[in-house]
């Protein structure tokens, strides 16, 4: 009998796979209650490191043309597709669904990713405007990235909710820190392996596993975070995050659809530019 080579699930920060600086892990059980893995229990310090990495990646990610960002994100979908079985097997283990259902979720997640990838170079046309002002001025409004967004991934699905949260943020030109689902974190870590081997620059996506409620107050209070997707938090924790987030007026949103333009727009700023017209 061959003994399996098991994987150590680590964090993903700045393109590297560190363990939590705290040295903490938590025991993850499968749907039958058997030991599955020891994912890292990320600390406040890990989160702060992730913010530094995400902030430093904002400029580079936005120097790329929107067309280029779209291609980079599409490339992620290509690599996801090749790993379908690995994702499906992890989903079977965590969620206890059958393989067919798990595979269907992976395919839906890949399609969702492709949907968002295609938005990169269209969002400005759909979400921006030229405005007829009453005077000799050219006036237009364009959407721009918000900056650094923390995504509390959906807790109810392993991969689909995670992808919807992350891809929407990236399509808007933001960099992200994802706090993975507590119960279903393996898809997030495997996704980070996909990202690490795609063309997404280091730091654009950072993924932490651990306890959302423990990290939430630090996320809410961090002054270098611009936006938070609280879809994966309880209402009570969301309230704590909103209270702390008021200090620098973070943009905080909860979503109920996986594929929606509103998800992208929520983490973008609109900039209006005026210029006189004349000879």
């Amino acid at each position: 009998m061959r003994v399996d080579v098991k994987k150590t699930y680590k964090l993903y920060i700045g393109g590297a796979f560190p363990r939590s600086e705290s040295g903490r892990v938590y025991e993850l059980k499968d749907s039958k209650g058997e030991f599955l893995a020891n994912p890292c229990q990320a600390s406040r310090k890990d989160f702060r490191d992730a913010v530094v990495s995400a902030r430093s990646a904002v400029t580079g990610w936005n120097k790329a043309t929107a067309y280029n960002r779209g291609q980079i994100l599409y490339r992620v979908a290509e690599i996801l597709e090749g790993r379908t079985f690995q994702f499906a097997e992890e989903i079977v283990a965590m969620e206890g669904v059958n393989f067919k259902e798990a595979k269907a979720q992976v395919e839906a997640a890949i399609d969702c990713w492709v949907w968002y990838a295609g938005w990169c170079d269209k969002i400005a046309s759909v979400s921006g405007s030229t405005n007829s002002v009453s005077g000799p001025y050219y006036n237009f409004t364009v959407p721009e990235n918000l900056g650094v967004v923390t995504v509390f991934a959906d807790q109810k699905s392993s991969l689909l909710g995670l992808v919807a949260g992350l891809a929407a943020v990236l399509a808007g030109g933001n960099t992200a820190i994802v706090i993975a689902s507590e119960k279903y974190p393996l898809s997030a870590i495997t996704l980070s392996e996909v990202l690490a081997t795609s063309d997404v620059p280091a730091g654009v996506v950072n993924i932490l596993t651990g306890y959302s409620a423990e990290l939430a107050p630090w996320v809410g209070a961090h002054m270098d975070v611009d936006g938070i997707d609280v879809s994966g938090l309880s209402k009570k924790t969301e309230e704590e995050v909103r209270l702390a987030g008021a200090e620098n007026l973070k943009r905080i949103h909860r979503f109920n659809q996986f594929q929606s333009l509103g998800r992208i727009q929520a983490f973008m700023e609109n900039k209006t530019v005026w210029h006189p017209i004349g000879v």
């Binding site: 721009e144 209270l243 008021a246 200090e247």
Partner: protein
Amino acid sequence: MTNFEYAPALESTAILDIASQYRLFINGKFVDPKTTQYFQTINPANEQVISQVAFAGEADVDDAVKAARNAYEKSWSKLSAAERGKYLFRIARILQERAREFAVLETLDNGKPIRESRDVDVPLAAAHFFYHAGWSDKLKYAGLGNDPKPHGVVGQIIPWNFPLLMLAWKVAPALATGNTVVLKPAETTPMTALLFAEVCQQADLPAGVVNIVTGDGSTGSFLVNHPDVDKIAFTGSTSVGKAIARAVSGTKKSVTLELGGKAANIVFEDAAIDETVEGIVNGIFFNQGHVCCAGSRLLIQENIQDEVLEKLKRRMASIRVGDPLDKNTDLGAINSAEQLSRITELSASGDLEGAQRWSPQCDLPTAGFWYPPTIFTGVTQAHRIAREEIFGPVLSVLTFRTPQEAIEKANNTPYGLSAGIWSEKGSRILWASQQLRAGVIWANTFNKFDPASPFGGYKESGWGREGGRHGLSAYLKGEK
């Protein structure tokens, strides 16, 4: 320096019929405040009392919210969108018809020059109603889904710097999208809102669609915390904005915030200097600098600093400070004693921290609240006058050597409301406008506003936009 003498050209106040007392406007009628209290509103240019205005307490706010809820459920939401729009068109027309009255009253209550209230505030307020009237029956084209829904009852709190215009920015989109409104005007400038209540009556707007509760910060707080208010829209200071964000953190209330700013106005070496100087003056001295998006941090490329400052000082010497009702006046009164002391205190910190102050020779009236047009040179990024919003006619001047340095300095602030760029080179303007983290960029112009143009800030300057298609989303529930 040539000293032009101008004969006074006073706008008459005979057009106004000011009552000695104003009550609250709730459910289409003027009613006594349950507090039984009234407070004075004064003319900041001479400290004379204009009138007594009702002070709304918790029970009054509750009555106003109930009236708004009732109107939302029984009349306003039953009306077709096209008919709703027609009420807004009516209001726009009445504002135009009574424009002079509004302009004179605004100048009396606020202290701003009649030239500005007449040519900017009032026409723009009417334009906001006219623009949004046309949106009422076209909301499915606003990019928020096929059938976007209003929130319901909206609580709106507005500042004293553009009393009627801020009312229009708030009320027009809220009504066009099918919401009903409880509006709290600023404590020091309630008059034009109360005159607007008469306009609502003349337009035969259904009772309770617009309710106006005058009072102070406590009145606003009752409104923010009222459980039956679905949405809060606030314009004012960043500190109050944050307090509102905290107050609603555990509720389902939707919030938009239009807060402070410390805009950089960047002058590149290739700028057209004379036009730029006009733009600098307009950027900081328009409305006494009581403008959240004022160009209060001037960033001049180092090699043209001397020329720009010399011309700026010469231009500032011709700014006429004085009676706001005089049509020649450029710079009117500071809105209140409280604001004057804030401007004085922050400016004093500029002296203490080592910046050099300059003001032209100008005689200030003895009564009322006044501050001369002022610039500080030798300002560094660390100075309080480079970081905090002064909200007065005080300009901080900094310099830069490279375009990259200009952008870094401009963005080095927690605010992000507006910015200015002066350059004759198109590619540089577009580059700078991309780099600046601010919601409104004025290139080779400054302080321009239009109902079709979205306005609002990045970072701690607020949440959401007002005006344009983007502004509608503040008052509609979109898909997400």
